[in-house]
């Protein structure tokens, strides 16, 4: 008996572990068909866009490495130097022994980059949302969030205990309606949206959302995790691109996409930001970011700010792949962006398609409901400034070869 089958048979009804049964069943199904999109191991990383997977050279089109800076020579050198100078970890929270001058320097770098008063670093982007939202939204407060917000945003709201209301995805009119219903409570409501939504690759109508926010005097938090480095003249994100940064109270972001590392931050012009440090359990009770990571991020932040050429290449590749897929008959879920999502009807169809694409030599993400906003499985592609036109042509050829599978999935769904 396989370990999964054994685990499944050991899950007795009414036991503590009974709630894990649906997960065990889903894993069993994946084992039976021999496809595991959630446990793919990269055996070797050759470059920001290539890896060895299952012994095979593979083009990576699902890494969120938008600017391709993970092997930047200057960032590597800074990380190596700091690793030797300051060690492998801080072994403590920022509130205790884990605050190095280097952390404060990166905070000042982010504040200067955004042209705001201050910044707080967090150990991951997930913790940045947890830390900021749990501190802003306590039990007597209300948070109004876009329905498609990331799980870290929902979890941050839950940690703080605020009342949570959703508005329809990217719909400022629905946001307006929700705030109107709150009456006098709207003035202290916290609105939370993202810049670029990570699943479908669609961009928030942020200028319109800011206009609604200003009508009610609410507070606006924007998560630019996937838009940092991609949108705006200097890469500050969608708020910069839509020229509405003054209407954003708190901007949250991550090092783990365009900055090529792991960590999170929040910047704000508001002086209350510094107080959030002392009210944020995910800040207080987590070891601070690793020094070598802070050092490499200081370098990649500079490269990001000066990375107009990187953004130009990223969007050229996004346009190439988006138009190429359309020409083949695929239907991307949103307009051109560095995230391209394609709905595939039926779990088995999606699993098979993803697996055939990997076997052909391209790795992308597979996302299954309920993690998808559309309710259908989706193939999620993310591009990098480090991709070249030949790699995108090669990926398009793989999609061309697999088109009959896609067409069959569409046909079986409409039958």
């Amino acid at each position: 008996m396989s370990s999964t089958a054994s685990t499944l048979s050991n899950l007795h009804h009414d036991s503590l572990y009974d709630k894990l049964r649906p997960i065990a069943e889903a894993r069993m199904m994946l084992k039976q068909i021999g496809i595991d999109p959630f446990g793919t191991a990269m055996e070797n990383i050759l470059s920001p866009t290539e890896a060895i997977i299952n012994g095979q050279h593979t083009i990576l089109v699902g890494t969120n490495n938008y600017l391709g800076l993970t092997f930047d020579a200057d960032a590597l050198a800074a990380a190596h130097e700091t690793l030797d100078a300051l060690g492998t970890g801080t072994t403590g929270s920022r509130m205790a022994n884990g605050s190095f001058t280097l952390h404060r320097r990166l905070e000042m770098d982010f504040a200067a980059f955004y042209g705001v008063r201050d910044c707080i670093l967090f150990s991951t982007g997930y913790l940045a949302n947890l830390g900021v939202l749990s501190a802003l939204g306590s039990a007597q407060d209300v948070i109004v969030l876009d329905a498609d917000c990331h799980a870290s945003i929902y979890d941050g709201c839950k940690l703080g205990g605020a009342e949570v209301i959703r508005f329809r995805h990217n719909d400022p009119e629905d946001l307006d309606k929700r705030l109107r219903r709150l009456k006098s409570r709207a003035r202290n409501a916290v609105i939370v949206v993202e810049g670029l939504y990570s699943m479908l690759g669609d961009v928030a109508p942020l200028a319109e959302i800011v206009a609604v926010k200003q009508r009610y005097g609410s507070c606006l938090v924007v998560d630019e995790a996937h838009s940092l480095g991609i949108y705006g003249a200097t890469g500050r994100g969608v708020a910069q691109a839509q020229q509405c940064e003054d209407g954003v109270d708190f901007t949250v972001g991550t090092f783990s996409k365009s900055l090529g590392a792991t960590g999170g931050f929040c910047v704000s012009q508001r002086e209350e930001l510094d107080l959030i440090r002392y009210a944020s359990r995910p800040y207080i009770f987590t070891a601070s970011p690793v020094p070598s990571v802070v050092a490499s991020t200081r370098v990649t932040l500079q490269k990001l700010a000066a990375g107009k050429h990187l953004r130009a290449n990223l969007f050229a590749r996004a346009e190439q792949l988006h138009q190429g897929l359309l020409a083949l008959g695929y239907q991307p879920a949103a307009d051109v962006s560095p995230v391209i999502a394609i709905n595939i009807k039926g779990r088995l169809n999606a699993l098979n398609f993803w697996n055939k694409l990997l076997a052909a030599g391209a790795y992308c993400n597979l996302v299954l409901p309920p993690a998808t906003p559309s309710g259908d499985p989706l193939l999620r592609i993310s591009l990098s400034a480090a991709h070249n036109a030949e790699q995108i042509d090669a990926v398009l050829q793989m999609f061309a070869d697999l088109y009959p599978d896609y067409a069959q999935a569409c046909a079986s769904a409409s039958a």
């Binding site: 329905a147 209301i165 998808t372």
Partner: protein
């Protein structure tokens, strides 16, 4: 506008559930949204968005945590409508 009765709220909920699960058979106040109908969290929230429009109210996500059945959802809606008055 008078507050709808629990019965009419329940009828509305059952109508929404039948749209999501046309083959579900007979539905009642005791129908469990997850264990009987197999709805996932996103489907429950999407259904709530439609109910919110019909009733011109917002359902706090954190108050949905204790809702298991169609009848419990009707009770929550009635409570929220009374609070809004």
């Amino acid at each position: 506008m008078p507050t709808p009765s629990r019965e009419s709220l329940l009828e509305n909920i059952i109508a929404q559930l039948k749209q999501i699960k046309p083959d579900a058979g007979s539905l009642s106040a005791d129908t469990d949204l997850v264990s009987d109908l197999g709805l996932d969290s996103v489907q429950v929230l999407e259904m709530c968005t439609d109910l919110e429009d019909d009733l011109d109210l917002s359902i706090p996500v954190n108050r949905l945590g204790e809702v298991r059945t169609a009848g419990q959802l009707a009770d929550l809606l009635q409570q929220l409508l009374n609070e809004a008055d």
